[in-house]
């Protein structure tokens, strides 16, 4: 067995370079011998002990002093030695400070690094992502549209605030390599400047050149991602020059891209081909033209800011250009009068998440700050106590001629040296915690890999605790000149510094208050999660699987698509084990949605109803377990009417029925649509509510017959008694029997989709719980320290009282009451702080009030118990008080 990791690593890091090899080698050899002789446990204990002592020996016995100039430095070295000796003399204090520092530095940097990488993940494979902005075309309500290629060119021509502006049009496609199975992937038709604006580099081969990408004369070249190279081509280096079918267009692979997977948060881009082929790939045979100003297919515009340019000025420039375009082409580009270019930095974030992300980060920063404060208070409190206990020592040194400056310097050096082991250990704690957190359920879905510990955060955490420690170290130093040598030496107990005592009590109260508020916050979030996991989904996700299938990519026309799905559905329904099978356009909890604004004529604008639309077959309701409460299901006729020719019948859910028609009868009513060209749609049935996008609210839904959909893809929803894995296989073969070229994509259990919807909440609650537990432990350590110090300082008083007939029990009672008084004040303050934190958290809470009384009371009880426990330890020392001894000391 190898020697224990932590001391071994510490030795390797901290031993002087020349000693490292020999000492580590000696230790390893002895460890092996020891292990054979006395067993692994004792050998490990020995190793730990010897590692520490070796370190001390190598750094204290003889530091390389002689050659140094004789001012300053050698004196600091002697201060270091003094500090090391002091640390050895009070191992308890050293351990407490080390523990506090290690936990707070470790936890804070881990949490922040994680949050940082989830929220502000650097975009892989992109050069200086902070210079990049996303441009979206949004109206004041936040709805978006795209730009056309000619409009983009106009914008690009006048974009002097940018060093580059680029665009792409995306969509999922079916890929077919020369050899092997087809696959579904995200592919983009990209503008000539796409790769240069992002600063993308090839892993090997080359990137398509700007002239090959020119829409005026595009070449059939394509670049693929490293991922796709692995999954589709088995990392075959001979992939360059092979051809690749993208839907029904063929391209020649020129290169594999290094690391880059697109600029959106969960980079998912796999294939990049010239924008000039986009319409052929996505809309074959529809006769659309890229140069048509009314074809607004460019939803993604990215820019790299020119040096010194600001996001707002760059946006203003785009808007000015857009205004000119609107004026010149009012018919086609007029829409941009409302949908104006809006630029966002923070390119790694998903659209629409930028505000909530900023809020989450702010909240985390508050929490991390609180824990940091608690840790600082703890260290300050411990050091103040030490300073007081050293008054005698200081007095002797003053009396024997040590200057105040020297004593101050020693105190400061002690503080600095004291922080070293804690900070070192903090590194281990931090990286350990980080890999633990990244593996938590809910974590991996957001992270592609365990992020490294963030250096800036580490430095900041360390700096802040050091500052607090130094400030606390200064206090006893400041007391030094005022110490009355005689009284300090006589050990009289009467004149303990009341200022320092008050300060320590105050710090403890603050700690208790802050950690109580964190505990309450964490509990509220955990209760929210509990409520969410028991939330009325309105449907039963067990045994339901969903698949995405897109026959449109094979060039099927609408009739062929309809026939394909009719056949597939019939096949699936016939399979043994199938309970229900249906189709829908949008994946439940899949992130996509289609929003409608509905308004009855007799309603004013403020009464507009927002509803979401979904296109389904009746099997969809059966698979999810949504029931009809009124009216009827779609008839065969309504279901079979081809797209654009029918669609007068709709089914709505209870929420929409209530919002539109109150408690009155909804069946037979007409749905009032805001769009002018909307067809008359009559409600034929009402179904029970099912949550579709969020677990927290039940939203209004409007269901249309599946064949009314506007896209040639579908989500297949199957409830089956077969295990998911087998169901996936059976569905694959059912599809393959109809057409071997159509892949079955994104096969997932509905249950996982639902769970993922709470991922962010879960991660946040976990982090907060962790911080709360940490804070509570730190507060308990602080409380323990204060009470222990108090008991030690009152030994003589207790001795006298015992001599006068007081019983131990009474004295313990006194100490306990003192502790509880501190704890009680802390709890009261903590409630106030928790009230403030609760309002910050309010938007994240569900099913529990921000001022939930049971939570507040429960947390207070926890803290009072903690107070009693922390007090009981030191209070036991009263038993050991010897009245004779105490009286004798008072006499001297």
């Amino acid at each position: 067995m190898r020697p224990p990791l932590v001391p071994r690593t510490l030795l390797r890091w901290l031993l002087p370079r020349h000693a490292r090899e020999i000492v580590v080698g000696d230790m390893a050899e002895e460890f092996a011998a020891m292990e054979r002789a006395v067993g692994s446990r004792r050998a490990r204990a020995w190793y730990h002990r010897m590692a520490l002592r070796s370190l001390i020996a190598c750094w204290t016995v003889r530091l390389p002093a002689p050659r140094l100039p004789r001012f300053g430095l050698d004196r600091s070295l002697s201060d270091v030695r003094y500090a090391l000796r002091s640390m050895q003399r009070s191992p308890g204090l050293t351990a407490l400070v080390t523990l506090t520092l290690a936990l707070s530095i470790g936890a804070n940097s881990a949490v922040f690094s994680l949050a940082n990488s989830v929220m502000f993940r650097a975009v892989p494979g992109v050069e200086s992502p902070d210079e990049l902005v996303v441009v979206q075309f949004e109206n004041p309500n936040g709805y978006g549209t795209g730009a056309s290629w000619p409009t983009f060119l106009d914008l690009q021509r006048k974009a002097s605030e940018f060093s580059g502006l680029t665009t792409a049009a995306r969509g999922s496609v079916d890929l077919r390599p020369e050899h092997g199975a087809p696959a579904r992937a995200r592919a983009l038709g990209v503008a000539p400047s796409y790769f240069s604006v992002f600063g993308v580099k090839p892993l090997f081969g080359r990137l398509p050149t700007p002239s090959e990408l020119d829409p005026a004369n595009p070449q059939r070249v394509v670049a693929i991602s490293e991922r796709l190279w692995g999954t589709l081509f088995g990392n075959d280096p001979g992939v360059i020059g092979q051809s690749l079918w993208v839907n029904r267009e063929t391209f020649s692979i020129v290169g594999v891209v290094d690391d880059f997977r697109g600029a959106l948060r969960r980079g998912d881009e796999d294939v990049w081909y010239p924008l000039g082929f986009y319409l052929d790939v996505r809309y074959p045979g529809e006769g659309l033209s890229l140069n048509d100003r009314s074809q607004r297919m460019l939803f993604e515009v990215y820019g790299r800011l020119a040096e010194g340019a600001e996001v707002r000025t760059a946006e203003a420039q785009l808007r000015a250009t857009m205004a000119a375009v609107v004026e010149a082409f009012p018919e086609q580009a007029g829409i941009h009068e409302e949908y104006r270019p809006t630029a966002y930095s923070g390119i790694g974030l998903p659209t629409g998440a930028r505000d909530s992300t900023a809020r989450t980060m702010g909240l985390l920063a508050v929490v991390v700050g609180i824990v940091l404060l608690i840790a600082c208070a703890n260290i300050a409190s411990l050091l103040i106590a030490r300073g007081l206990s050293l008054r005698g020592d200081t007095a002797v040194r003053r009396a024997s001629g040590a200057s105040v400056a020297r004593i101050v310097r020693e105190h400061l050096m002690y503080t600095v040296v004291l922080a070293v082991p804690g900070a070192t250990l903090g590194l281990f704690v931090g990286s350990g915690l980080l890999s633990l957190l990244a593996r938590l359920p809910g974590g991996p879905s957001m992270l592609q890999e365990v992020p490294p510990l963030d250096g800036t955060v580490l430095a900041f955490t360390f700096g802040a605790t050091m500052l607090a420690a130094l400030a606390a170290g200064l206090l006893p130093a400041a007391l030094a000149p005022r110490i009355d040598v005689r009284s300090a030496l006589s050990g009289a107990s009467g004149q303990r510094s009341p200022l320092a005592r008050k300060l320590r009590s105050g710090l403890t109260v603050v700690q208790v208050a802050l950690s109580l508020s964190l505990l309450i916050g964490a509990t509220l979030l955990l209760r929210t999660l509990r409520t969410l996991s028991h939330a009325e989904l309105g449907f039963d996700p067990t045994a339901v699987s969903v698949f995405s299938i897109d026959p449109g990519h094979q060039g099927y026309d609408e009739e062929e698509v309809d026939a394909f799905f009719d056949q597939l559905l019939a096949d699936l329904e016939d399979q043994p084990g199938t309970i229900a099978a249906g189709l829908s356009l949008l994946r439940p909890f899949g992130g996509g949605s289609f929003r409608l604004l509905l308004q009855r004529e007799d309603q004013d604008d403020s009464e507009r109803v927002t509803s979401y639309a979904q296109w389904v077959t009746p099997g969809y309701f059966d698979a999810l377990g949504q029931r009809l409460t009124a009216g009827r299901m779609f008839t065969r006729e309504e279901l079979d009417l081809p797209a654009g020719k029918g669609g007068s019948a709709v089914i709505i859910n209870l929420t929409l029925a209530r919002r539109l028609f109150g408690d009155g009868r909804a069946v037979g009513e007409v749905v009032p649509q805001l769009q002018r060209d909307a067809r008359v749609q009559e409600v034929v049935g009402v179904v029970t509510d099912a949550r579709h996008r969020s677990l927290k609210v039940s939203e209004a839904m409007l269901y249309l017959p599946f064949k009314e959909r506007w896209r040639e893809s579908a989500v297949v929803v199957v409830k089956s008694s077969k295990p998911h894995r087998i169901l996936v296989e059976d569905t694959r073969s059912a599809v393959a029997r109809l057409n071997g070229g159509i892949p079955v994509a994104s096969a997932e259990r509905l249950q996982s989709l639902v769970e993922r919807a709470t991922g962010d909440e879960r991660l946040f609650a976990t982090l907060l719980t962790l911080m709360a537990v940490l804070a509570a432990s730190l507060a308990a350590i602080g409380l323990y320290g204060v009470v222990a110090n108090e008991v030690a300082g009152r030994t003589q008083e207790f001795g006298i009282r015992i001599a006068l007939g007081a019983r131990h029990g009474q004295l313990v009672h006194t100490v306990l009451l003192d502790g509880l008084r501190l704890g009680g004040v802390g709890v009261l303050l903590g409630w106030m702080a928790a009230g403030a934190l609760g309002t910050l958290l309010e938007s994240r809470l569900f099913g529990v009030a921000p001022l939930d009384a049971p939570t507040f009371l429960g947390a207070a009880v926890v803290f009072l118990v903690l107070t009693v426990l922390a007090t009981m330890g030191p209070a036991r020392a009263i038993d050991a008080v010897d009245p004779v001894d105490a009286l004798r000391r008072e006499g001297t």
Binding site: I22, V23, V24, G25, A28, E30, M50, S54
Partner: protein, 115 residues
């Protein structure tokens, strides 16, 4: 120039002398532990030997690494004449000053216990 030796340094030099060609960190440390019952750390042995080497009392040589040490090399020490002289001198000083006193020392120790 007479360089003085501390008592730990004396222990080390005697151990090196005793071990002869086998004198390297682990062996020296074990020898002292066996003879004195004091637990000492490899780091302390190394640092003190390093100091003795700088004073010119011992010389050292590195061997090739062995697998039990994870491939790390050992440092072998040999006592050089100047070291031997210094050791002899400091031991003799101690012997001279303690001559005839050991009996009284033992007695004083007993009295100390009794009081």
């Amino acid at each position: 120039m007479a360089k003085s030796l501390g008592d730990f340094e004396q222990l080390l030099l005697f151990a090196v002398l005793d071990l002869g060609a086998d004198a390297y960190g682990v062996a020296v440390r074990r020898r002292i532990e066996d003879r004195t019952g004091r637990e000492i750390s490899p780091g302390a042995v190394y640092t003190a030997m390093d100091r003795l080497e700088k004073k010119g009392f011992v010389e050292s040589q590195l061997d090739d690494g062995v697998p039990t040490r994870g491939g790390r090399r050992k440092k072998f020490y040999t006592l050089v004449p100047e070291g031997a002289r210094a050791l002899a001198e400091s031991y003799e000083t101690l012997a001279r000053i303690s001559e005839g006193l050991l009996e009284r020392l033992a007695k004083a120790g007993q009295e100390g216990v009794a009081s």
